[in-house]
């Protein structure tokens, strides 16, 4: 484990949740989970609904996101999440709401989008069953 820090931002439409130096960030991307340390190669990936673990000053914080987007350029890691809450504040209601919304979206989406949404729905159901 490296001790190097890097700049990390967790941004939602209503608020900047985290902005500062962190040790590492673990994310659940659509193509697999990964943990980001300093000097990661440039990458852009979509997030699936799930948890992300941010280690700040060797203390970890867990957030739940309903989906989003990660971009890593040089020393800057940015996560754009539509909705992010602390893991302790996640409720069954909230997940149900997201599931319903995703189902509504699927009704008139294009083929490619339907594919993405179906994956999302699956992830959400798994998370729901784990609660």
């Amino acid at each position: 484990m490296s001790d190097e820090l890097f700049n990390f931002e967790l941004i939602t439409p209503s608020k900047v949740l985290i902005s500062g130096s962190v040790n590492s960030v673990s994310i659940q991307g659509v193509e697999g989970d990964m943990t980001i340390f300093a000097n990661h190669s440039p990458i852009a990936t979509a997030l699936r609904p799930g948890y992300l673990k941010v280690v700040i000053n060797n203390k970890s914080e867990n957030y739940f996101v309903t989906g989003g987007f990660v971009q890593i350029i040089g020393d800057e890691v940015v996560i754009l999440a539509e909705k992010a809450t602390l893991e302790s504040e996640v409720s069954l209601e909230m997940i149900d709401q997201t599931i319903n919304k995703t189902k509504n979206l699927m009704e008139n989406a294009s083929e490619l989008q339907k594919c993405v949404l179906a994956k999302k729905l699956n992830d959400l159901t798994i998370i729901k069953s784990q609660l």
Partner: protein, 291 residues
């Protein structure tokens, strides 16, 4: 010449009007602060979103998503007009509607079809008479205290699904950009197809070896609706701040005017009272002299 009692009543009524406008001004000032804060907190997301978009579109020029390149036609325009739910905010609503109307007339005279979606009932009321037949939908936000991202995403999903049903080709949103308490400028911004700054962005060396997970196509497909939602969300927040700003300055003016009116009426009241007293005195003196 109105009699004294009438004048007194009028002064009282203007005074209570002033109290109301003063109170509204203070409420608007408090709400303005909140609205500005909300607009500021949403800014980083919008900024990052647009830089991400620029990065991707600058490397991947071959995307054929209809949201980016249009659906092959530009005859039918969807005009989204965002106004306020409440009145008493000066020229706020009429300035948006005026600009939208001139845009609509231009489109009509060029032989385009138009459809109008209104957000906020004040704009709808103003457009009903002239463009009533084009109004297709209305979004009611009157129950909300603050606009959330959810609201914006509901609106954008609605618009996007209409786009994929080929109900329109180009969507533009009209709203007021907040500049300061005394100045808000009506602005139009194109939602679909998404305008990108192709060619303007220098392709940096770091973006050429950018990894995409999954592939660019899917990421773009995922991002585009979000970009539209973000645009609508920003527009709604700007509009919210502008509305409160406009209301604050309108109510400030009204309060000042009421004060002036009270001064004038008070002078008039005092004069007529004095005239009445003088009259009475003359009557008494001339009566005494006659004796």
């Amino acid at each position: 010449m109105p009699n004294l009692k009438d004048l007194k009543n009028r002064i009282e009524s203007v005074k209570s009007t002033r109290k109301i406008t003063k109170a509204m001004q203070m409420v608007a000032a408090a709400k303005l602060r909140k609205a500005q804060e909300a607009a500021e907190q949403a800014r980083p997301y919008a900024e990052k979103m647009s830089t991400v978009m620029e990065k991707i579109t600058s490397t991947n020029l071959s995307s054929d998503s209809p949201l980016l390149i249009g659906n092959g036609n530009n005859k039918t325009h969807l005009i989204v007009i965002a106004t306020s739910e409440r009145g008493l905010c000066g020229a706020f609503n009429s300035s948006i509607v005026r600009q939208a109307k001139s845009h609509l007339n231009n489109l009509l005279s060029d032989g385009n079809n138009i459809k109008i979606l209104t957000i906020g009932k004040k704009g709808r009321e103003q457009l009903k008479r002239e463009f009533g037949q084009y109004l297709i939908e209305h979004v009611d936000l009157s129950d909300l205290k603050t606009v959330s991202y959810e609201n914006a995403s509901n609106i954008s999903e609605n618009i996007i699904s209409k786009f994929f049903k080929n109900e329109f080709n180009i969507a533009t949103i009209f709203y007021n950009q907040f500049e300061s308490v005394i100045s808000q400028t009506p602005k139009a911004s194109q939602l679909i197809p998404i305008e990108t700054k192709k060619g303007e962005v220098e392709i940096q060396t770091s973006t050429s070896n950018f990894l995409y997970e999954p592939d660019e196509q899917e990421i773009i497909e995922d991002l585009l609706p979000k970009v539209i939602t973000t645009k609508i969300f920003t527009a709604l927040l700007e509009n919210g701040a502008s509305e409160q700003g406009a209301r604050m300055s309108a109510m400030d003016n009204a309060t000042r005017n009421a004060g002036e009116m009270i001064d004038k009426l008070t002078i008039q009241f005092n004069r007529s009272r004095q005239a009445a007293i003088t009259n009475e005195l003359i009557e008494i003196i001339s009566g005494a002299e006659a004796l």
